[in-house]
């Protein structure tokens, strides 16, 4: 049975989702928990980084944006001005998304470890066709650098497990825990 996946509040004008999203009706939803460490940096002028998290195929095709952490609270949507600094995300997905996007956009996070959980079958994760994917996380810091980290994963997860990758400058450890 093929059903239309629940559409997130953001509008996916040009994301190629047709092949990746095949409906199933799981009894309990599988979960992905992303834990990311934002490093504490000793710089004269520190600003919490803008961060974008998204899923792409192992061939680099964007599937869905999971989270964007940026200055959402600025008036007149002014925080969106710097989103293109997350340049891979911007080019793959961000520039066709209306920001802020419900369930995706939230404020920047300070240095430390932060976890976010996504449920399979629910926006923004949605339904993923079985296959090999990458969780991408990109960070850009005002008067600082930009870094992108990829964590490969298989979907659906056959057993509980995870994988980890580490950034070198703007991102610390990024770990992905899957619960089938």
């Amino acid at each position: 049975m093929i059903t239309t996946p629940p559409l997130p509040a953001a509008r996916w004008h040009s994301l190629p989702i047709s092949m990746a999203l095949i409906a199933s009706a799981p009894a309990t939803a599988a979960e992905m928990t992303v834990t990311v460490t934002i490093p504490r940096l000793a710089v004269a002028e520190y600003h919490a980084p803008y961060v974008a998290m998204w899923v792409e195929s192992d061939a680099g095709k964007p599937i869905t944006t999971l989270a964007t952490w940026y200055s959402v609270k600025l008036k007149a949507n002014e925080g969106t001005k710097w989103l293109p600094e997350l340049r891979s995300w911007w080019r793959k997905a961000g520039r066709t998304l209306a920001m802020p996007a419900d369930g995706i956009s939230s404020p920047t996070r300070p240095p430390g470890t932060h976890s976010v959980r996504f449920a399979g079958g629910t926006a923004p994760f949605g339904n993923l066709a079985p296959g090999n994917y990458r969780l991408m996380i990109e960070a850009a810091r005002e008067v600082g650098g930009r870094e992108i980290v990829a964590v490969p994963f298989q979907w659906p997860a056959k057993a509980a497990g995870g994988s980890t990758a580490t950034g070198t400058a703007e991102l610390g450890t990024v770990s992905l825990a899957l619960k089938p």
Binding site: E78, T80, P84, W90, G94, R95
Partner: protein
């Protein structure tokens, strides 16, 4: 002498004096935007206009803004906010009120000619619309037409192509790869047309900015294929300049029996290749 004075006044009025006097290869003419990829409910790009040797240095003179034509994502003209015109550069801001791609251009088009009337050789400068100024008794009419386009592109939000449609006049660059969707290390393809038709075998010069700070000029000379398509490859991110010139195109004779118009068209563009 009077004819010369009149020609000079015509040049000043047409704003052509500074821009058509020098051959295209002598100096590079460019519009350099402050940014090409933007986000937000609205945006603003600030653009410098200059002719120079080093890229993108202000080492020669400013470009006039009289022929500035900005096309918005809906295909309609956008008014710039002119900051000023100095000796070395002109500058203007482009307000971006709606999402999409904006085409920012200096589009110059002028004609000049000579003829003989009552035994005197006369010179004329004008445009196709003003060919009727040439008196009926003119003999030995020689006409030439110079078209020049100096362009750059900026996008607010998602790229679009409405503003990039060909005007069908002179030498133009049309996107195969969108000009605001280009990154270093990935080939970008552009299609050149002359009067709307593919410009095959056209030589295109392509060079990275920052020429003053390196020994090798690094100018790539590329050639368009049979479809007018050229493949641009920027090894490192930054602003790049490209230039192409060609002669010919549609050469409509001003009147039956008259010689064809000698046409020359030039095109320059500034493209920003972002990092991977």
């Amino acid at each position: 002498m009077i004819a010369h004075f009149t020609v000079c006044r015509l040049l000043a009025l047409a704003g052509l004096a500074a821009t058509l006097a020098t051959p295209a290869s002598a100096h590079r003419r460019w519009l350099l935007p402050s940014i090409t990829v933007m986000a937000g409910d609205k945006g603003l790009a600030s653009v410098d206009a200059a002719a120079s040797n080093a890229l993108f240095a202000f080492d020669h003179r400013a470009l006039g803004l009289d022929t500035l034509a900005i096309t918005g994502p809906d295909g309609k003209p956008v008014s710039p906010v002119v900051i000023g015109k100095g000796e070395m550069r002109s500058a203007f801001d482009v307000p971006l009120a709606q999402p999409g791609t904006y085409r920012i251009a200096l589009a110059m088009n002028g004609m000049m000619g000579s003829y003989v009337l009552n035994g005197e050789k006369k010179r004329w400068r004008g445009s196709r619309a003003r060919l009727s100024e040439i008196p009926a008794g003119a003999a030995n009419l020689e006409l030439s037409e110079n078209l020049g386009r100096v362009e750059t592109f900026v996008t607010l939000g998602a790229p679009s192509t409405t503003a990039l449609a060909a005007t069908g006049q002179g030498l133009e660059m049309l996107p195969v790869t969108h000009p605001n969707d280009i990154v270093a290390g990935e080939p970008a393809e552009m299609r050149f047309v002359m009067d709307g038709k593919p410009a095959a075998g056209l030589k295109v010069e392509f060079v990275a900015g920052g020429t003053r700070h390196r020994d090798q000029a690094g100018i790539q000379t590329l050639t368009t294929n049979a479809d007018g398509i050229v493949r641009l490859m920027a090894a490192t991110p930054g602003f790049y300049y490209l230039e192409a010139d060609m002669e010919g195109g549609t050469a409509a004779a001003p009147a039956p029996g008259q010689p064809a118009v000698k046409r020359r068209a030039s095109y320059t563009a500034v493209l920003e290749f972002l990092p991977q």
